[in-house]
Symmetry: C2
Subunit: 451 residues, 2 copies
């Protein structure tokens, strides 16, 4: 059995405004699957892994805010999700996932575990190589076996895996790692056969459990999760890779990309425009995404990217777009303006502010047929719901009443409330009023109706 831990993290501010805290880049459906349908990096990775001829346990290690995006996108896949209770870097997240494999999935301690990013863009060979990583681990070639990519240029942005010159064959001994070297050194390393570090690590489950036991004697998953703060706040590289007695690596030759900037992402996008966009023939190599319902006209641009969403508007030269992070962190809203949820989605359509303080916030909620919002209350805001489409039921402090097109519901602060859609999408215009209009002002009481 091959155990795979997929790391799904990151807020992707370099892909703002398409990504936000609730919608990381790996969930954006900007790629195409074989049938021509929109596909996210997460979906692509699962479809690639699916083709590996091995029995697999797949665990996605992620944070709470991504759980629902993962479940929405992976309806046909088999996998488990392990949620880190708080952000503490990659080492404890991977340890928690490994403990889950050992204690909840009862994986054999001799089985191979492969850790890899969920958002890499690579060819099938990269995934097929997991068979070779497994073989190398099982042959005890080294404590850790890495997959490294053949560099295509002397990048200053990646880490390099440097081989022991004496070692030969498909699985070669690693002598050291060099992080983000200047270009001349990068070129020298490449000339000597060094590879880019892809963040793919294979080892026996036993190895990582041994490291975990140095920090805790706990033997069950729930207790470990509760004691998560006791684990070291450290990266897997420092905590595990650099301390390993022996490391070897396998070379991967093929496409390998971090689609984390508009520049790299648009290269893989099939369409030049998406949404309500009119681009004229004077545009060249320009990608436009419009997720607002404002009509958009783009003319006379070259090598540019234009993206408009409820979170904001970006217009940038592609080259420059790799460096917009500081601007975005200044510009971006402090809250996501769009989110997909298990029950449907919401979009903030307006926010009225006075002296930097919001005094009203308007949303459109779309609840999917049969789905419900959790029973909840807000301490300091009231909400006015106007149903604009569909039929459903609203409960206010245990009083259930039917609602439909045209119904208006007033929810006082402190009133427990929930809503569910019946046979069709239920559209609700929500007006929030109060002094503290944040998602966090919420107390949840599970589901009111049986799910």
């Amino acid at each position: 059995m091959l155990n795979i831990i997929l790391l799904s993290g990151g807020s992707g501010s370099r892909l703002w405004p398409l990504s936000n805290d609730a919608r990381s880049k790996q969930f954006l459906k900007v790629l195409r699957d074989e049938g021509g349908e929109g596909q996210s990096m997460v979906q692509r990775t699962f479809s690639m892994l699916d083709k590996i001829p091995l029995e697999k346990n797949i665990v996605v290690a992620t944070c709470a805010s991504q759980k629902s995006s993962i479940d929405i996108q992976l309806t046909d896949a088999e996998y488990d999700v392990v949620i880190e209770p708080e952000r503490r870097d990659t080492a404890p997240a991977i340890m928690l996932a490994a403990a889950y494999l050992a204690w909840e999935k009862h994986a054999s301690l001799d089985d191979t575990v492969v850790v890899m990013p969920i958002d890499t863009y690579a060819s099938q060979v990269y995934y097929d190589n997991l068979v070779n990583l497994d073989k190398a681990v099982q042959s005890d070639v080294a404590e850790l076996i890495l997959q490294g990519a053949q560099p295509t240029y002397p990048s200053e942005k990646f880490g390099y895996i440097v081989f022991d010159p004496a070692s030969e064959g498909m699985v070669r001994k690693v002598s050291c790692f060099v992080e983000k070297p200047p270009e001349p050194e990068a070129q020298r390393l490449i000339d000597e056969g060094a590879l880019w570090n892809c963040g793919v690590f294979a080892f026996k489950l036993n190895h990582l459990m041994g490291i975990l036991h140095a920090y805790t004697d706990l033997q069950d998953f729930d207790s470990l999760r509760d004691a998560y703060r006791q684990l070291p706040k450290n990266s897997f590289d420092y905590e595990v890779v650099e301390k390993a007695d022996s490391v070897a690596a396998i070379k991967y030759e093929g496409e390998w990309k971090d689609l984390g900037t508009w520049n790299t992402l648009t290269e893989e996008m099939c369409d030049f425009s998406a949404g309500k966009v009119l681009c004229d023939e004077t545009c060249s190599n320009t990608h436009v995404i419009n997720e607002t319902n404002l009509p958009m006209v783009v003319a006379g641009l070259s090598d540019a990217v234009v993206v408009a969403t409820p979170d904001g508007i970006l217009v940038s030269d592609k080259e420059t777009s790799a460096h917009i992070k500081p601007l975005v962190s200044k510009a971006a809203e402090s809250r996501p303006m769009y989110e997909s949820r298990q029950w449907g989605e919401y979009k903030v359509i307006s926010k009225e502010e006075s002296e930097g303080q919001a005094f009203s916030l308007e949303k459109i909620l779309i609840v999917k047929p049969g789905k419900q919002l959790s029973y909840q209350k807000h301490h300091s805001r009231s909400e006015v719901w106007t149903i604009t489409s569909g039929k459903g039921e609203v409960v206010l402090d245990d009083q259930v009443k039917p609602v439909e097109y045209g119904s208006v519901v007033f929810i006082e602060p402190g009133t427990k409330h929930a809503v569910r859609a019946l046979d069709d999408d239920l559209h609700i215009v929500e007006v929030q009023l109060g002094a503290n209009l944040v998602e966090e002002d919420i107390e949840r009481y599970g589901f009111y109706w049986n799910d």
Copy 2:
């Protein structure tokens, strides 16, 4: 007494999305007055005319949709507005304004009338020249006296005033007009002393009233307005200028521009950005206007214009922006998404559509202190109002009730309703529901409260 008819027309789709049917380019406050405050072309024209040392009657000839924009922008000026009952080209509009001067303002038939566009961008000399036009008219040099601008390049887009070679002096006899000649011909005309036609025409009131009487015997303004359809649907150039027995022109040397495209308009804009915009230092000669409340980041653009408003988003190379009209007419909403009104303003914040048909539309209305919406009813839509700021009064079928922050008002189709703000701005989130969500579904009953 100098009579001035200012023509205010045009929907300005070349300045979309900043201009729309209710907000033509001449009302956009993109210029600066001497005190550094935002100034529109209309305001600039009035401040220039104000400096002419002559007694003046000013009449603005325009259409109904512009009346309130004019009144909002010209609070300190003295002028009358003559509204064309329907769009019938410039000749009847100018005839109606002339009739207003003669019959309502009792201007002398021997007085000079100057017709000019309201949205020209020119220096003070251009306006001061009206004194010379008046003198030439009163000296009976010709039936019509024009002001022409000294060309600065052989434009193919303008009309040219060609002089009689035998005529000399400040007021020269015109031999013919040439519309939009190809460049070589334009150059030849310029070499021979031709001027650009600025659309400034001076004549005795009597002259135009004579032409009017060829079409109608009516002798009072209201009757003429009611009989507006009887007037020829023709331009002033064809109906009056080309038929004149004698035409002369005065040369104007100085800045003269049609700020009707982004390319020309941005040249006169003082600021490179307005609204919620972060532009980095990699941008050059790029103008950005953001009137939405979406944050905007612009990076690495050169010679571009980026404009986002509730009506839409335009991103264009400046040069190309002069040619976007066909794209805009395809992209633009069929209704204005933002309007200033006498009572305040509204903005459409969302529109939910199904199969191209809107089933709900969300607006934010801001009613200014002491102002009111007219008493009105809608036949096929209902409205839900949530008050998000301020205090006011709402009347529903003659029942008055106070409203404030948090109040919710449900307005059924057919219910007469109005609202007024008390001491502060009254903010209302309006959700419109129904099958026919257009501004035109309205029946008005004047003001409910004394104004």
